[in-house]
């Protein structure tokens, strides 16, 4: 029930921001943001209540993973909104949140991990990895936003996208912030995963395909950040790399889940 309510609140926020995009109404803007904040709170409450009812960290079903993904995407947006006040970013993030929410509905009973996840590290590793990935996804969405706005400026289209979407430099800043935050969280996820593997799995996890692929993903973003710092990337290159980065992450996850872990 609470999960349905959360999904409904996210959906309402999306519809309101979509209407605001076309009608430019301050009331719609305010209500969409209130709805977004409420959604994130409800999402958090859903996870906590499920934790209480399961008496273990909710991470053993696909439903739980997707619920957590929704939460981190929502939280990521709220952080960026507080920092940059750019509401139309939610227009790109919310479809992913809603898709994850619908996916959660459809996969409520799919269990992907039968063993009891009681270790301390799962409380750190999983949220950090999902949080990092959520921020990488947001940075890729900022990349898409950059290309959309850049196209408007190059082609001199002064329509709704030009008017409503942020300036190019602001999008670049949003991208930088998301990529750095994602990298820090993801690094924490990788490190805690390694420690978890060493303690729980007697070191055998170190050579597991899952960890190797996660490490490859980490390396990709590490290289992006290093190039950015040392050589300097143009905003366009940064946008392209963050899109390529998230595609590689998704391919890695897909590959690990469907082929290597079978």
């Amino acid at each position: 029930m609470l999960y349905s309510l959360t999904l409904f609140a996210y959906l309402s926020s999306f519809l309101l921001i979509l209407l605001h995009f076309f009608h430019n109404s301050r009331k719609l803007y305010i209500f969409s943001q209130i709805s977004m904040f409420i959604s994130v709170m409800l999402n958090f409450l859903t996870i906590i209540l499920r934790w209480v009812s399961l008496k273990q960290f909710p991470a053993s079903t696909l439903f739980d993973i997707l619920s957590m993904t929704m939460f981190f995407l929502g939280t990521g947006y709220v952080i960026l909104f507080v920092k940059y006040k750019r509401p139309f970013l939610s227009l790109l993030i919310l479809p992913f949140i809603i898709a994850a929410g619908v996916g959660g509905f459809l996969s409520e009973n799919i269990v992907y991990k039968k063993q009891h996840l009681s270790t301390f590290w799962i409380y750190i590793h999983l949220p950090l990895t999902i949080g990092g990935t959520a921020f990488f996804l947001i940075s890729a969405l900022c990349g898409i936003l950059y290309f959309m706005q850049e196209r408007q400026l190059k082609n001199k289209n002064f329509g709704l996208i030009f008017k409503n979407f942020p300036p190019l430099e602001t999008i670049n800043n949003l991208n930088n912030f998301s990529i750095f935050t994602g990298f820090v969280l993801f690094s924490g996820g990788i490190i805690s995963g390694i420690i978890w593997g060493l303690i729980e799995w007697n070191g055998t996890l170190i050579l597991s395909s899952k960890l190797i692929f996660s490490f490859i993903t980490w390396i990709i973003f590490f290289i992006i950040i290093i190039i950015k710092k040392i050589r300097g990337l143009t905003p366009k290159q940064a946008a392209s790399l963050s899109i390529i980065g998230i595609i590689l992450i998704l391919l890695t996850y897909h590959g690990v889940a469907n082929f290597l872990l079978r």
Partner: protein, 420 residues
């Protein structure tokens, strides 16, 4: 009492006539005194800007009193009253209130949605308080005018999009760079268009403005005006390297900024974005530069299309604003109607209060010493308040509707006798 307005604006009178009729601050006291000498004009407000001169009057006979104001204006400006009438408009009651609201919101301005008029309307009210007469009607009108003007500005996009070429150029730069805080601008030329753009830029938080011109003195003059730096024209390519925004408007017959120049500069700049605004005809900046990564070139036609798009956007927002103005006018009319009810409410209350006092006096004399006066007073006051609560509330709520009832119907409604 009603509001009436007589005035002229950019649509009805030429700038010469508007100049003639404008009321400078030093003449306000005298004009207000002359207008308010008419006993049937209770309150007055003069709004005088470069685009309009309007006299708002609170009066009970608007036709006669507007005539008297026109005579004063004609005498003051030495213009024939007949000639004056050809250029003026008059509104009364609801239309006058709506007109003022529209003026304050910038809906009647030459540039739709321009923000300066709101400040001018506020100043006019302040001057009216000092030199003229502002009573209950104009006080409420001022409050409502400020409220609707603020509402229109915050809830519609009427003032959001720039409608002048130079302002649009600066706003476009903000669409690329966001804040101009750490950015540098290079202005090539020192003509009128460059001057306007430079002034708009200097009003932002831009880091530096470099001005270069074939005639160095002109560059120096403009640099002084906008707190910029003047540099000789010969080293133009050097300045391009450090500029994020380039605005050019010279009389050169060929391109002065070429594709090859910018291509090599962009490599050195590591493709850090550059925004070129070419306001010159023939053009100064090679349009092919727009093909280079992270460079954006806009010419005068592009800027004009931005301005046209913005004008259309403002017109669209004006429809929303007008709806808000209509609602505000209705609210104000409701307040005016409620004014008529106030004496009736006061009269009714004092009639019953008088009866209460007489009764207390009579009973105290009749039952001297055996009745507690305080208790009696308390009981009768409490009874009075309860008995009058329903009719007074109904009178306040329904009395402004203007509907006509028979006496019997009115009693039924006032005392809620049908129990609805």
């Amino acid at each position: 009492m009603q509001l009436a307005v007589v005035g002229l604006n950019h649509n009805t009178a030429s700038v010469d006539l508007r100049e003639c009729l404008a009321v400078p601050q030093e003449k306000l006291e005298q004009i207000y005194t002359n207008i308010l000498a008419n006993e049937r004009i209770y309150e007055a407000l003069i709004l005088s800007t470069c685009n309009r001169v309007e006299y708002y009057l609170v009066t009970d006979d608007f036709l006669c009193n507007i005539e008297s104001v026109l005579k004063i204006v004609a005498e003051e400006s030495n213009i024939e009253i007949g000639e004056l009438k050809n250029h003026t408009y008059t509104y009364c009651g609801k239309d006058a209130i709506k007109h003022l609201f529209k003026v304050a919101c910038g809906l009647d301005s030459l540039v739709l949605g321009e923000p300066q008029i709101f400040g001018q309307v506020k100043d006019a009210f302040n001057f009216a308080k000092i030199y003229g007469k502002v009573d209950r009607f104009l006080k409420k009108l001022e409050e409502s005018t400020i409220k609707i003007a603020k509402k229109v500005r915050t809830e519609t996009g009427i003032a959001e999009n720039p409608v002048s070429v130079s302002y649009a150029a600066v706003e476009l730069a903000k669409k690329i760079f966001g804040s101009l805080k750490n950015k540098s601008a290079l202005i090539i030329g020192a003509g009128e268009m460059c001057e306007l753009a430079a002034k708009h830029l200097s009003s932002t938080d831009i880091n530096s403005i470099v001005i270069t011109n074939r005639t160095f003195e002109k560059a120096e003059n403009l640099a002084r005006e906008v707190s910029g730096i003047a540099k000789p024209f010969e080293n133009l390519k050097e300045y391009l390297m450090d500029a994020d925004i380039v605005i050019s408007s010279t009389g050169a017959p060929n391109f002065i900024v070429s594709y090859e120049d910018v291509k090599s500069i962009m490599i050195k700049r590591k493709y850090s974005p550059m925004f070129f605004i070419d306001i010159a005809v023939p053009r100064d900046i090679d349009p092919k530069i727009n093909e280079i990564e992270n460079t954006y070139v806009y010419d005068i036609d592009d800027l004009k299309s931005v301005v046209e798009a913005n004008k259309k956007a403002r017109e669209k927002e004006a429809v929303k604003a007008l709806q808000m103005v209509d609602a505000a006018v209705e609210d104000f009319l409701y307040w005016i109607k409620s004014l008529k009810i106030v004496p009736a409410i006061k009269g009714l209350r004092s009639y019953f209060e008088q009866i209460r006092e007489t009764e207390i006096k009579r009973l105290m004399e009749k039952y001297k010493g055996s009745i507690d006066e305080q208790l009696l007073n308390y009981a009768l006051t409490s009874y009075l308040n309860k008995a009058l609560h329903t009719p007074l509330t109904n009178l306040k709520n329904l009395g402004v509707s203007g509907d006509k009832y028979t006496l019997a119907e009115a009693v039924e409604i006032l005392f809620n006798l049908k129990g609805e």
